[in-house]
Amino acid sequence: MKGLKFFFFHMRKNPLSIAGLVLITIFAIIAVFAPLIAPTPEGQFNSYLIPRDGYSQTPKPPSDEHIFGTTQGQYDIFYGVIWGTRTAFQIGIIVMGAVLLIGIFLGSIAGYFGGIVDEIIMRITDIFLAFPPLILAMAVTVALGPGIQSVMTAIIIVSWPSYARVIRGDILAIREEDYVEASRSVGSSHLRVILRHVLPNSIYPIFIMASLDIGAVVLTAAALSFLGLGVPEGYADWGQMISFARNWIVGTPSNAFAYWHTVWIPGLFIFFFVMGWNLLGDSLRDILDPRLARR
């Protein structure tokens, strides 16, 4: 209870974190109620394919039929951004979940057992971390072929090493603590010590990292889609929708902002989604970080 009281006191003092929470909740609601907000047309099997109203290349501005207008190729923007929310959550949660599992698993083993196991795992992370993430993700996506699974796999491959390292570092520190030694001295098995003592104490920074990173994951996935390396064409994905807008940023000779909706609407969706997670993660970090003089 005391922890919760502490938590909410600080939340109240920090309006940014509340803003973050609100944003994420709004997006979550959109994602959950996507079929109601933007119903899939009759007969279309895959809900994630954006319905097209014709094949003309020129985007059309918002109208009664298309609330947010259409983008290049007459894809309905409204449908795209609503179902794109689902895609974003999917990618974020699946990738983050996998990264956490792999990272915590390998990191714990490296940290707890030390020695040669630690060395090997650390060298492996070094190798993966030797690449700028986007480049490696690009290479993997090319190798695995297009599709949303390749994007997710690529990002998982690129992201797990940092988590493994952080967990390993925390465990190395905690391993030396007296209460671990005390537990071992009364006969607890390795597993028990890890699960009961080491992990609960090292898990907080990981969750902070994870919530901050969901934003980064979605951004990377969007970047890959934007570059044309991810989802198939017409898939409801924010990044891809922005790539459709590339040719239309200069507008018409009379109106520079004629096609603003193609750029701004998907862009704002990504921006607020990522910002919501970043706000939350940032304030979580400020609150839970014991080193930053708790007041």
Binding site: K2, K5, F6, F9, H10, R295
Partner: protein
């Protein structure tokens, strides 16, 4: 003897998420010139807070909510430290009142040399003197040299002379400050750094560090704990301090080093005759080095008297219990029953009453004031206030 510092009714509160924590509760304390006053008490009773309050180093969420701290300046005036401006108190910090902390490793900045850190204080507070010395040296050089080289350097030296004399007259003048900011031109001020290093070197000799010139070039991590503490003491004494506040300076050191540092402090006490506020939880150390001792409990003073009085004829129940708790061979260990009060849930009236054998009804209701019971012997306890004598709880 004249009073140097007098704390009257100082209350410090901390406004935390869990509630308001009272660190200092109506504290009364006075320090005379030239004396060594010991401040003893259990961990958490507020000793360090008292010291920080004097220097106004209490930072949010802590606030000095009430009280006065009278300080007798060099000129004989009495000013209230709590009413000074930031600039004024900074003038006093490090020069007239300085502080030595518990952890010497934490007190020194790891990325700067010892020389840098000591001269920092000296240059800050003794700028005038340094400039005067530097100017005198330049004058001498200007007067004697006649060869070709010195004629070339002459203009440079003249510029230096003018800068130094400006600083000597007005340490806050704009021009020298400007010079100090410009990278290459700044080198003109090298004599000031030099003078400061000379002073630093002699300070290190004072604290019994052999080979000061080598130490000045070292970084903190290259030195042992004892040596670091000597350096910290040297830093505190750099500017003719009138009150040295030592907050448990030997607690984190080995026993042998502890003895050395204590000897050092005693020697300095004899030589420099500065007042010392010595904070410790070690009664033995306090007995050895202090003239008077104040016993603190839960944010206020409960007894204040000469050292022999406190140790041999303690009056306050807490002091009595403390003295009795000191382990002696052959005697059974006696502890003080009960626990230190929870700062969020303080007992009403006298803070000590839940643990006191002689507690009376009034102890639960009113906080006792610090009163002079015997000459120069102050106690804050209802047992001695006279008007409640005789009534039982």
């Amino acid at each position: 003897m004249q009073k140097l510092v007098e704390m009257k009714g100082v209350t410090v509160n901390f406004y935390t998420y869990e509630g308001v924590v009272q660190a200092l509760n109506n504290l009364d304390l006075d320090i005379y010139q030239g004396e060594t006053l010991g401040l003893v008490g259990e961990t958490g009773c507020g000793k360090t807070m008292a010291a920080l309050a004097i220097l106004r180093l209490i930072i949010p969420p802590g606030k000095i909510d009430s009280g006065k701290i009278d300080y007798c300046t060099v000129g004989g005036q009495t000013i209230d430290l709590l009413s000074l401006t930031e600039n004024e108190i900074r003038d006093i910090r490090g020069s007239q009142i300085s502080m030595v902390f518990q952890e010497p490793s934490a007190a020194l900045n790891p990325v700067y040399t010892i020389g840098d850190q000591i001269t920092e204080t000296i240059i800050l507070h003794r700028n005038r003197e340094l400039a005067r010395n530097a100017q005198a040296k330049v004058d001498k050089l200007l007067a004697e040299d006649n060869n070709r080289l010195s004629i070339l350097i002459r203009p440079l030296r003249l510029i230096q002379k003018s800068i130094y004399s400006t600083i000597a007259n007005d340490p806050f003048a704009f021009a020298p400050k400007l010079v100090g900011r410009i990278p290459i031109v700044r080198r003109l001020l090298w004599r000031i750094d030099d003078e400061a290093l000379l002073i630093a070197s002699s300070l290190l000799k004072e604290v019994e560090i052999a080979d000061p010139s080598r130490v000045l070039k070292q970084h903190p991590h290259q030195m042992s704990g004892g040596m670091k503490q000597r350096v910290v003491i040297a830093m505190a004494l750099a500017c003719c301090t009138r009150l040295l506040i030592a907050d448990e300076p030997t607690t984190s050191l080995d026993v042998t080093i502890q003895a050395q540092i204590l000897e050092l402090i005693k020697k300095l006490k004899r030589e420099i005759q500065t007042s010392i506020l010595y904070i410790t939880h070690d009664l033995a150390v306090a007995a050895e080095i202090c003239d008077r001792v104040g016993v603190m409990y839960s944010g206020s003073i409960c007894e204040l008297a000469e050292v022999t009085e406190v140790y041999q004829k303690p009056l306050h129940p807490y002091t009595k219990a403390l003295m009795a708790a000191v382990p002696k061979p052959g005697k059974e260990l006696s502890a003080i029953s009960g626990f230190v009060p929870d700062p969020l849930n303080l007992p009403p009236g006298c803070r000590f009453h839940p643990r006191c054998d002689a507690a009376k009804k009034v102890c639960r209701e009113k906080q006792p004031a610090l009163i002079e019971i015997n000459p120069k012997h102050f106690v804050a306890c209802h047992l001695f206030t006279g008007d409640e004598l005789g009534k039982t709880s």
